[in-house]
């Protein structure tokens, strides 16, 4: 029975959105209501869990739950809930629930809504994970996850070019910031000696005094600034407005951009308090505050206005955090909360306007209040909060901000000008709020709107109503509502340094109030004076020439072009230089230790050389050298010689008593030679007189000479290395362990096989995957393979035979060949079952005697190749079902499932089990689950080789598009066979 503890609730809160996302992603695209209800229920449940957890953190305590992952590296999965993370998690989930309700009515039935909710839930889950992270690396992980899901959300209408480019821009900017953040937290972890958040908090003083403090601060700030759209990284946010409005309402009020703010607050106790922090954060915040507010005034798109206003408010919060004062930090947390409520409701209201009128252009809208009175009222209140009108929540945090700005008693230029700049920015914010409300909801009835405006449905307004009520309640009775939450959050950041403050509406007639009233007055006056002129204004005066987007795209295209240049300079698509570099690097790496420690042969006395063995090796050596010699013009001869060299190594294995290797070597040698033989036909012809007058240029001679030298160096290097190793005593390696434990632990006497399928089963699984990938790659490459022009035609002999068959009565093409091959073909077909029996024999006995899944698979594929050779591609595929992909897939699946089966019995992945079983007729037979794994290997190997074979074989029956005139000649059906 699972006991419900705070820790398990934490995991539930994190897991719920992701589970919901998974479920929603598998719903059919039309299940709009199901997806909506699912998402709503998930968000509501998660919100309830979050709210239920409040009691466990309200006293300033911290709930932690940790799962060790790689404890030796300090990597743990830690969930940590304190006042701050509770506040953010609750914000994310509650606003998330409201957005889900709103989206249900906003999204059009034509959109694949389940996918939308899947992204939204996954995004919410990432945000919850981010705020709950108790480990720095984990925090960055969720941080990048939010970037990724916000990319998907912004680009949800992917058929829209603006959505795509906006999403890409947001991803590039925020993910780049995320990389910086990763570097930053790694520095932080290095200074603190741990990635654990609590340890980092404890090391705060050490961090601020460290010489790595400045780089760490810079990197972390870049991460935070890119995420929360601070100047000069703010440009992505307006472009992200191409997203559906619920996404904007969610991302740009409570979540994505607040992640940057969260990060700044989270690290405030560690990083703040220095001059560097003050200078950077305050400057960036102030620039963003003023710039955002100024640009917002000149927006003609309602969402654009809100976007720039968001940037400006984020700048305000950043500015507060930069002031190095605890009270300012409290104000920052408070304003984060307030901004989330009023901005989410405003975005939703704009969504309703867009939805009901068909436009968001502020110049076209007018007098909507008479059509949608309720929405208008809600929007007016929310905009009032944004402008900082008394009795609304925005007013309170704005007062705190002004008080802090005035409190900055510094005998500096910044200290003296800050109150005035702050008032100016607030006046701008009043101006655009008034413009937004007055233009859209008041004035004469609107002319030629795309749609007849009307009031939004009841449930679409509900989320706005909830948020606006929150604005009102917090604004009027802050002490009763938000004060405890804010207190808990502030305490978790500031600890015992938490200042005393009072959240009251009336503090007396003081300087902040005067400035606040001044800002309201200035803003209203500005609208009265310039309101009409703003509608005619295209672009923003003063700063409109600086286009963030253009700069971004220039940088991006420079980067891409630079990367391409670099690729052209250092890269090549030719095989020979690549191989040359590879061998050269290997030679050098091998040489390095000898240069340092010198070369010395071992002391062991060599075994006497058996003359027979020497003779075999002489033959093998001659074969190898001759293969290299003839490879240039006589590929066929070279191939046969290579096979000779391979056979010699095979005989050597037998000689040195390793039957398993010999068997595998023999089989692999056969398959390779056959496949290479089949491929030879498609190679381009080599002409002897490549260079006119048989005069090879010096450049080419030099290159060839270099290649020969390199080959000799590599070969003799390997020989010397082998000599040095083999003349020494074997060190006490792990092989003894394998030999001793293979039977008692693995249940097999064939140590090689037990190592492959049991001790090193995971490696084998990896190798199987690689083999599958290689086979698929070969197949993909050969499918698009265009042979050299001279090898496109059928071989001469085949053409002659076809011509003779065509000429004679009653014969079909290929009859001559069939006649000639009748007896050999019949014998080869008879041999097919015999080879299959051999393959199964090798498979079954593999655990105890030489053989195993790999050898059996290769044997089986040799049988298949033989059939292709004897009867021709068409005939074989008429009679046999050749499904290499299925074989490969089922092989991999079988291996994985066998491995997973061990979990069922509480053993680690790929643990094998064996027992002797008494079978009727056969007697006592050893059975091991490793055999199942080996069958997986077997299937995969057959599939991989067959796939390559099929790819080569189908080249011959492919009709080429050499001559475009007769379209009937192209039989596309056969190409796909």
């Amino acid at each position: 029975m699972l006991k419900v503890t705070s820790e398990s609730l934490l995991w539930l809160m994190l897991a719920l959105p992701f589970l919901g996302s998974l479920l929603s992603s598998i719903l059919p695209a039309r299940k709009r209501n199901t997806a909506g209800i699912l998402a709503g229920v998930v968000m509501l449940l998660a919100s309830v869990v979050a709210i239920g957890l409040y009691s466990s953190i309200s006293e300033g305590s911290v709930v932690r739950s940790r799962i060790p992952w790689l404890p030796s590296l300090g990597l743990e999965i830690v969930l940590r809930l304190d006042g701050l993370s509770w506040l953010f998690a609750a914000l994310v989930l509650v606003v998330g629930f409201l957005v889900v309700v709103y989206s249900r009515y906003y999204m059009s039935p034509e959109d694949p809504v389940p996918r939308f909710f899947a992204y939204l839930l996954a995004f919410a889950g990432s945000m919850v994970g981010l705020v709950l992270s108790g480990n720095l690396i984990q925090l960055v992980f969720f941080w990048e996850l939010t970037s990724l899901f916000s990319f998907l959300l912004i680009g949800y209408w992917y058929h829209n070019e603006r959505a795509r480019s906006g999403a890409r821009m947001a991803l590039i900017v925020t993910a780049t910031g995320g990389l910086c953040l990763l570097a930053g937290v790694m520095l932080l972890g290095k200074i603190a000696g741990s990635y654990d958040l609590d340890a980092v908090f404890l090391a705060a003083d050490r961090i601020r005094q460290s010489e790595l403090y400045l780089p760490a601060l810079g990197l972390i700030l870049i991460g935070a600034f890119t995420k929360s759209a601070q100047f000069p990284f703010h440009f992505w946010l307006p472009h992200a407005m191409a997203a559906p409005t619920p996404v904007s309402a969610y991302l740009h009020s409570a979540t994505l951009v607040k992640a940057g703010i969260f990060l700044l607050i989270r690290f405030w106790p560690v990083l703040a308090g220095t001059e560097a922090w003050f200078a950077t954060v305050t400057t960036v915040g102030l620039c963003t505050l003023i710039l955002g507010a100024w640009v917002a005034i000149f927006q003609q798109d309602l969402k654009g206005l809100l976007a720039y206003s968001t940037i400006s408010h984020l700048g305000l919060i950043t500015l507060l955090l930069g002031l190095n004062s605890p009270l300012a930090t409290v104000a920052a947390i408070f304003h984060t909360l307030n901004h989330a409520t009023f901005k989410a409701s405003l975005f939703m209201a704009v969504g309703i306007i867009d939805h009901e009128t068909g436009t968001r252009d502020i110049r076209k809208l007018s007098g909507l209040a008479r059509y949608m009175p309720i929405t208008a009222t809600l929007a007016v209140i929310a905009a009032g909060a944004m402008a900082g009108v008394p009795l609304l929540n925005g007013f309170l945090s704005k007062e705190m901000f002004l008080a802090e700005a005035l409190d900055l008693h510094r005998e500096s230029f910044a200290g003296r000008t800050l109150p005035f700049l702050a008032t100016l920015a607030l006046a701008f914010s009043v101006l655009y709020s008034v413009r937004f409300i007055h233009q859209s909801f008041f004035g004469p009835p609107p002319q030629d709107l795309p749609r007849e405006p009307q009031e939004a449905p009841r449930w679409m307004r509900m989320p706005i109503e909830v948020l606006v009520v929150a604005c009102l309640v917090v604004g009027m009775v802050p002490a009763l509502t938000v004060a405890p939450l804010l207190g808990a959050a502030a305490y978790s950041v500031l600890g015992p340094n938490t200042p005393s403050y009072s959240l009251a509406i009336w503090h007396g007639f003081n300087a902040p109030l005067v400035l606040s009233l001044l800002a309201l007055l200035l803003g209203a006056l500005g609208y009265v004076l310039f309101g009409k002129r703003l509608n005619r204004q295209d672009g923003t005066p003063l700063v409109g020439v600086f286009k963030g987007r253009r700069a971004f795209e220039t940088v991006l295209s420079l980067l891409i072009r630079g990367a391409r240049r670099t690729m052209e300079f250092v890269g090549t698509r030719r095989l020979q230089p690549q191989l040359r570099v590879l061998v050269l690097a290997a030679c050098f790496a091998g040489l390095l230790p000898f240069l340092r420690y010198g070369y010395q042969g071992g002391t062991k006395v060599g075994t006497p050389l058996d003359p027979a063995f020497a003779l075999i090796w002489l033959v093998g050596g001659i074969c190898a050298v001759a293969a290299a010699w003839t490879a240039k013009y006589h590929r066929f001869a070279a191939l046969i010689l290579m096979a000779g060299a391979g056979l010699v190594s095979c005989v050597s294995f037998v000689w040195l008593s390793s039957p398993d290797l010999a068997l595998t070597q023999l089989l692999v040698e056969t398959v390779t030679t056959l496949l290479l033989l089949l491929g030879l036909r498609w190679l381009p012809a080599r002409s002897r007189d490549l260079w006119p007058g048989s005069r090879t240029p010096w450049r080419v001679r030099f290159r060839r000479g270099g290649d020969v030298t390199l080959a000799l160096a590599a070969g003799s290097g390997i020989a010397l290395l082998s000599y040095a190793i083999m003349t020494r005593e074997m060190p006490n390696s792990i092989s003894r362990y394998f030999v001793e434990h293979s039977y008692p632990d693995g249940g097999g006497r064939n140590v090689v096989n037990v190592i492959l399928v049991d001790f090193r089963g995971f490696d084998t699984l990896g190798e199987m995957t690689v083999l599958a990938i290689v086979a698929l790659t070969v197949f993909a490459l050969l499918r698009r393979f265009r042979p050299a022009p001279e090898s496109v035609r059928s071989p001469e002999q085949q053409r002659l035979q076809d011509a003779s068959d065509d000429a004679r009565e009653g014969r079909e093409r290929g009859d001559t060949l069939a006649d000639y091959l009748l007896v050999p073909r019949t014998i080869m077909e008879w041999l097919f079952p015999a080879i299959i029996v051999l393959a199964f024999y090798l498979l079954m006995r593999g655990h105890d005697l030489p053989g195993g899944g790999f050898a059996a698979g290769v044997t089986m594929s040799i049988a298949l190749i033989l059939q292709y050779l004897a009867s021709g591609t068409r005939r074989v595929e008429d009679r046999l079902r050749v499904h290499p992909l299925r074989w490969m897939g089922s092989g991999l699946l079988l291996a994985v499932v066998t491995g997973l089966g061990a979990w069922w019995f509480d053993y680690p992945f790929l643990t094998s089990w064996f027992r002797y079983v008494d079978l009727p007729l056969l007697g006592e037979v050893p059975l091991a689950t490793a055999l199942l794994f080996d069958i997986g290997v077997f299937l995969l190997v057959i599939g991989a080789i067959a796939l390559i074979l099929v790819a080569i074989a189908h080249q011959s029956i492919r009709t080429t598009r050499r001559r475009p005139e007769p379209p009937l000649a192209v039989k596309s059906g056969e190409e796909e066979a």
């Binding site: 001469e796 002659l800 000639y820 091959l821 007896v823 050999p824 014998i827 080869m828 041999l831 015999a834």
Partner: protein, 121 residues
């Protein structure tokens, strides 16, 4: 071979004679391959090695291991069967290809209308 000293004298003698006879046969076949002139003549000698040479050596092996393990060892017969099954296939393929080429050449000299089928390389 570790088991060899345990063979009784008569068996050792028999096995030795058989093995050497088989090896001689195979050697004869190889010499023939080198010495003989035309393709169709050359196709025959290697079969000496793969038939009688193989048979003698398989017999030797059967006697040797039957005596050593004191029970009949007959699975060498499988080797004999598969060798007799598979070697002819190779030779037949070679002979067929040569025959085809021979006929084609004969045909082309008689028929001037055909293009020359002789390969240049």
């Amino acid at each position: 071979m570790s088991g060899a000293p345990d063979l009784p004298g008569w068996a050792a003698l028999l096995v030795g004679i058989l093995v050497i006879a088989g090896a001689v046969m195979t050697l004869l076949g190889s010499i023939g391959l080198v010495r003989l002139g035309t393709f169709f003549e050359r196709i025959h000698p290697p079969t000496v090695g793969s038939s009688s040479g193989m048979a003698l050596i398989v017999l030797a092996s059967m006697i040797c291991f039957s005596v050593l393990r004191s029970r009949p060892a007959v699975h060498e017969i499988l080797i004999a069967i598969s060798v007799t099954m598979t070697t002819p296939v190779t030779f037949m393929l070679l002979a067929r290809a040569a025959l085809y080429r021979e006929r084609l050449e004969g045909q082309s000299t008689g028929d001037p209308g055909d293009e020359d089928p002789v390969h240049s390389d």
